[in-house]
C-alpha cells in the first residue's frame, strides 16, 4: 500500500486530507509540525508528502529542503499546501524542490487527483 505523509498544523484540514486520501485507498501518516514530518519521512519512507507551508517551527519549505538534501528521502514526491498566492511564495516552494503546489482553499477532490497523477507518473 502506498504511504502518503500529511503535515499540517490545523487538525481539521489534516483530518480532511487524511480522510479523503484514505477513501482513495492510500495509507496516511498525519503529523502536526515540520519536525515530526521530517522524522516520519525518514522512518516511514512515504512515496509522497503533502506539506503545509506555514507551520510553527520548521515550515513546509524548510522540511522540503531538508528532505531533498537527505539522499535517503531526496526522491520523495512533495506537494505544498499554501494559503498565499503571491508569486514569491510559489517560487520559494519550487526552488525548495516541491513537485506541485495547491493553494488554500482547495477542493479535496482536486488534491487527490493531483496526488494520483504524480504517483502514477512516478511509477511509470
Amino acid at each position: 500500500m502506498t504511504v502518503v505523509l500529511v503535515a499540517d498544523d490545523d487538525a481539521d484540514i489534516r483530518d480532511l486530507v487524511a480522510f479523503k486520501l484514505e477513501q482513495a485507498g492510500l495509507e496516511v501518516v498525519a503529523v502536526e509540525d515540520g519536525q515530526a514530518a521530517v522524522e516520519q519521512a525518514r522512518t516511514r519512507r512515504p512515496a509522497l508528502a503533502v506539506l503545509d507551508v506555514s507551520m510553527p517551527g520548521l515550515s513546509g519549505i524548510d522540511v522540503c529542503r531538508m528532505l531533498r538534501a537527505d539522499p535517503a528521502t531526496a526522491g520523495m514526491l512533495i506537494i505544498m499546501l499554501t494559503a498565499r498566492v503571491q508569486e514569491q511564495d510559489v517560487e520559494g516552494g519550487f526552488s525548495a524542490g516541491a513537485d506541485d503546489y495547491v493553494t488554500k482553499p482547495f477542493s479535496p477532490r482536486e488534491l487527490v487527483t493531483r496526488i494520483q497523477a504524480l504517483l502514477s507518473r512516478a511509477r511509470a
Binding site: 490545523d10 480532511l16 479523503k20 506555514s54 494559503a83 498565499r84 488554500k104 482553499p105 482547495f106 479535496p108
Partner: protein
C-alpha cells in the same frame, strides 16, 4: 630759448621775461649814461668854458680900458684918464687872479702866457705913467707900448678862440650823444618787443597743441574709448604732467571699474551658489555647499556653520576642513549662537554692532583664539527665526568689506532658505517613508488576514465537498440544498478575500509602479482566451475588434486584471445567446479600450456608484448573480494608477459599455 632737453613753458617764459628785463634795464642804463655824459658836457660848458671866456674877454676889455686911459693921459695929460687907468690896474689883479683860478691845467699855459704879456705891458705902462704928459717921451712910450699890448691881445684872442672852439666841440659831443642814445634805446625797445612777441607765440604754440590733444583724449574717453591714454611724452613739462595726471585718473577709473566688475562677478557667483544651495534636498549637503562656496568666492580661510539647538534633521556644526573637531575653530564651535537674531551681522573690529548681533565676551575670545584675522558672523535665518550662524574667518588680511558682508548675508539667506526647504523635504521624506511603512504593514496585515481566513475556509469548503460527494453517506434533497448554500457562500467569501488582497496590492502599487512597454492586443487576446470557457458555458459570444499593435507603458499584470474583470463582468451579466465585444484602438496619444455587452444593464441612478467598493447593482442582487462588489473598484484603481480614465455607458435591459482610456506613456 628752450632746448629740446628742457621743454618747459615755465622755463621758456622765465627766459623770455629775463631777456626782456635785461633789455629794459639796458635801455635805462643807456639813457642814464647819455644823460650823465650830457650833464658833464653842459657842466663843463657852463661852469668852465663859458666863465673862462667871460673872464678872458673881461680881462681884454680891462686892459683895453687901461691902455686907452694911459694913452689918453700921456697924450692929453688929463688926470681923469689916468684914474681910469688906475681903476683898470686894480681890477686887473682881481680879474687876473680869477682867470688863473678858473683855468684848468689844460688852459693854464695859455693863461700864464697871456698874463705874462699883460704883466709885461703893465710894467711898461707903469714907466709911461711916470712920464710927463704930452712930452716926447710920453709919445714915444705910446708907440713903445703898442707892440706889447698887441702881444697881449694876440694871446687873449688865441685863448678866446680856443675856448670858443671847445664850446662848439662840447655842443657837438652833446648832440652826438643824444643821437646815439636815441638809436640805442630804439634798438633795445625793438629787441624787447620782438622777444615778447616771440615768447608769446612760441609758448602759445607749445601749450595749445599738446593741450588740445590731451583735451581730445579726455573727450574720447568720455565717449567710451576707455583704453585710450594721453601721450605723456608730448609737449612741454607742464602739459606732460597734465597728460600724466589724466592717465593716472584713467588708471584709477579702470581700477574702480575693474573692482566693480569683480564685485559683479562675485555677486553672480554668489547667486549661482544660492541656486546650488537651494537645490540640495539634504540639509548637510546644502550646508557643505555654502561652506565650500563661500571659502572660494569670498576668500575665507575658515568657514563655520553653527546651527541653533533644538533642530532635528540638521547637523549642529559644519566647517570647511572640520576645524571645529579639535582644530582652530573648536572654541568657537563650542560657543552657542543664541546671541544672534534673525538678520543679524557682526564683523570683528566693528565698534557699534547692530542690535540684532552683539556677541558675548566668550564669542569674542573664541574668535581671537581662532586666528588674528578679521571675523564675520552672519545669521542664517528662516523667516523670523534664527536657524544658526555662519562665521567667516581670515587668518590675515584686510577687514571684511561692505560688499563681502552683503555677499555673505546673501549666502546666509540662501542657506536659511535651503535649510528650511531641505528640512521640509526631509520631513516629507520621513512622512512618505512612514506612509510606505504603513502601507507595507497594511499589505502584511491583509496577507495575514487572508491566510488566517483561508484556513477555516478550506475546512468548510472541504468538508462541504466531502458531504456533497456522499463520502459520509447519502444526503436527503433538503440536506443537499442546504450544503450547496454553504458551499456557494464559502466560495463567495473566498472571492471576497482574494479581491481584497488584490485591491490592497494594487493600491500599494501606487508606490511601486512596475511599468514596461506592453502590447495591449496580446494581453487582450490572452484574456479573451481565458474567459472563453465561462463564455461558452453561458452561451455568450466574445468578439474582438483590435488595431495592432497597441504598445503602451503599463504594468502587464494589472492590465490583465482590468481585462479579466471587465470581460468576466460582461460575460456574467449577459444572458444566453448574447454577445460581448472587446475593442481596442489608438486615439491620439491614448489607447481606447472598450468592453460592450448585451446584458441586463445598470439602472441610471446607480451608474455613479458603480466604482465604489462593495457596491453591487440592485438588479444583479435581485437576480442573485454572484459577485464581490470589488471588481470595478479594482479596475478603477488600476486605471487611475496608469493616469487613465474610465467611463460607463449603460442602458438597462439593453447592455453596458465600459470604456477605458490609457495614455500611451
Amino acid at each position: 630759448m628752450a632746448t629740446p632737453r628742457d621743454r618747459s613753458v615755465g622755463r621758456l617764459l622765465t627766459r623770455a621775461f629775463g631777456a626782456l628785463v635785461v633789455l629794459i634795464v639796458s635801455c635805462g642804463a643807456a639813457e642814464t649814461t647819455a644823460l650823465l655824459m650830457q650833464h658833464r658836457v653842459v657842466d663843463e660848458l657852463s661852469t668852465h668854458v663859458q666863465p673862462l671866456e667871460l673872464t678872458n674877454s673881461e680881462l681884454r676889455s680891462l686892459l683895453a680900458d687901461a691902455q686907452r686911459g694911459l694913452r689918453g693921459y700921456l697924450l692929453t695929460g688929463d688926470g681923469q684918464l689916468l684914474d681910469a687907468y688906475h681903476e683898470a690896474r686894480s681890477d686887473y689883479a682881481v680879474v687876473g687872479a680869477r682867470l688863473r683860478g678858473t683855468a684848468s691845467s689844460r688852459e693854464s699855459g695859455a693863461v700864464a702866457r697871456q698874463l705874462a704879456r699883460a704883466d709885461a705891458w703893465w710894467a711898461l705902462a707903469e714907466e709911461q705913467r711916470l712920464a710927463a704928459p704930452r712930452s716926447e717921451t710920453a709919445v714915444g712910450y705910446v708907440a713903445q707900448g703898442k707892440p706889447l699890448f698887441q702881444d697881449f691881445t694876440a694871446e687873449n684872442r688865441a685863448l678866446d678862440a680856443e675856448l670858443a672852439a671847445r664850446a662848439v666841440d662840447l655842443q657837438k659831443r652833446s648832440s652826438r650823444l643824444s643821437t646815439v642814445t636815441t638809436a640805442v634805446v630804439i634798438v633795445l625797445t625793438l629787441l624787447a618787443a620782438v622777444t615778447a612777441i616771440l615768447a608769446a607765440v612760441v609758448s602759445t604754440r607749445r601749450i595749445t597743441g599738446p593741450l588740445d590733444r590731451v583735451v581730445a583724449i579726455i573727450g574720447r574717453r568720455r565717449s567710451g574709448e576707455l583704453d585710450i591714454r594721453a601721450d605723456a611724452t608730448d609737449g612741454p613739462t607742464e602739459i606732460r604732467a597734465v597728460a600724466q595726471a589724466v592717465n593716472e585718473m584713467a588708471e584709477e577709473g579702470d581700477r574702480i571699474r575693474g573692482g566693480e566688475k569683480r564685485d559683479a562677478a562675485r555677486r553672480a557667483e554668489v547667486r549661482e551658489l544660492g541656486y546650488r544651495i537651494r537645490a540640495h534636498l539634504k540639509v548637510e549637503e546644502a550646508i557643505q555647499e555654502a561652506v565650500s562656496g563661500l571659502a572660494t568666492i569670498i576668500g575665507a580661510d575658515h568657514v563655520l556653520v553653527r546651527m541653533a539647538p533644538g533642530q532635528t534633521e540638521v547637523p549642529a556644526l559644519a566647517s570647511l576642513r572640520d576645524e571645529h573637531v579639535g582644530g582652530v575653530l573648536k572654541e568657537l564651535a563650542d560657543c552657542d549662537v543664541s546671541w544672534l537674531r534673525s538678520g543679524g551681522v557682526w564683523a570683528s573690529g566693528e565698534d557699534a554692532p547692530d542690535d540684532r548681533a552683539a556677541p558675548p565676551e566668550a564669542e569674542l575670545l573664541a574668535c581671537a583664539a581662532a586666528g588674528a584675522g578679521p571675523a564675520l558672523t552672519v545669521a542664517v535665518s528662516g523667516g523670523d527665526e534664527c536657524l544658526g550662524a555662519l562665521t567667516l574667518i581670515r587668518d590675515t588680511g584686510p577687514a571684511w568689506t561692505s560688499v563681502e558682508m552683503r555677499l555673505a548675508e546673501s549666502v546666509a539667506a540662501d542657506l536659511g532658505r535651503g535649510v528650511h526647504h531641505a528640512r521640509l523635504f526631509e520631513r516629507e521624506q520621513h512622512l512618505v517613508a512612514r506612509l510606505q511603512e504603513l502601507d507595507t504593514a497594511k499589505t502584511d496585515f491583509m496577507s495575514t488576514v487572508s491566510h488566517e481566513l483561508r484556513t477555516p475556509l478550506t475546512s468548510i469548503a472541504g468538508y462541504v465537498e466531502l458531504l456533497l460527494d456522499g463520502e459520509a453517506g447519502e444526503l436527503g434533497p433538503q440536506q443537499r440544498r442546504m450544503l450547496e448554500v454553504i458551499g456557494r457562500n464559502s466560495r463567495r467569501l473566498r472571492e471576497l478575500i482574494e479581491d481584497m488582497l488584490i485591491l490592497s496590492k494594487i493600491e500599494s502599487g501606487a508606490f511601486h509602479p512596475s511599468r514596461r512597454p506592453v502590447d495591449l492586443v496580446v494581453l487582450a487576446e490572452q484574456a479573451v482566451a481565458a474567459i472563453a470557457p465561462a463564455a461558452a458555458k453561458g452561451r455568450v459570444v466574445v468578439r474582438t475588434e483590435v488595431e495592432r499593435p497597441l504598445l503602451l507603458d503599463a504594468d502587464p499584470d494589472q492590465l490583465d486584471r482590468v481585462l479579466m474583470n471587465l470581460l468576466s463582468n460582461a460575460v456574467k451579466f449577459t444572458p444566453a445567446d448574447g454577445a460581448v465585444t472587446l475593442a481596442a484602438h489608438r486615439d491620439g496619444d491614448e489607447v481606447r479600450l472598450s468592453v460592450a455587452d448585451t446584458g441586463m444593464g445598470i439602472p441610471p441612478a446607480e451608474q455613479q456608484s458603480l466604482f465604489a467598493r462593495f457596491f453591487r447593482a440592485t438588479n444583479a442582487i435581485h437576480r442573485a448573480i454572484p459577485g464581490t462588489g470589488l471588481g470595478l473598484a479594482i479596475v478603477r484603481t488600476i486605471v487611475d494608477n496608469h493616469g487613465g480614465r474610465i467611463a460607463v455607458d449603460s442602458t438597462e435591459g439593453a447592455g453596458t459599455t465600459v470604456t477605458v482610456r490609457l495614455p500611451l506613456r
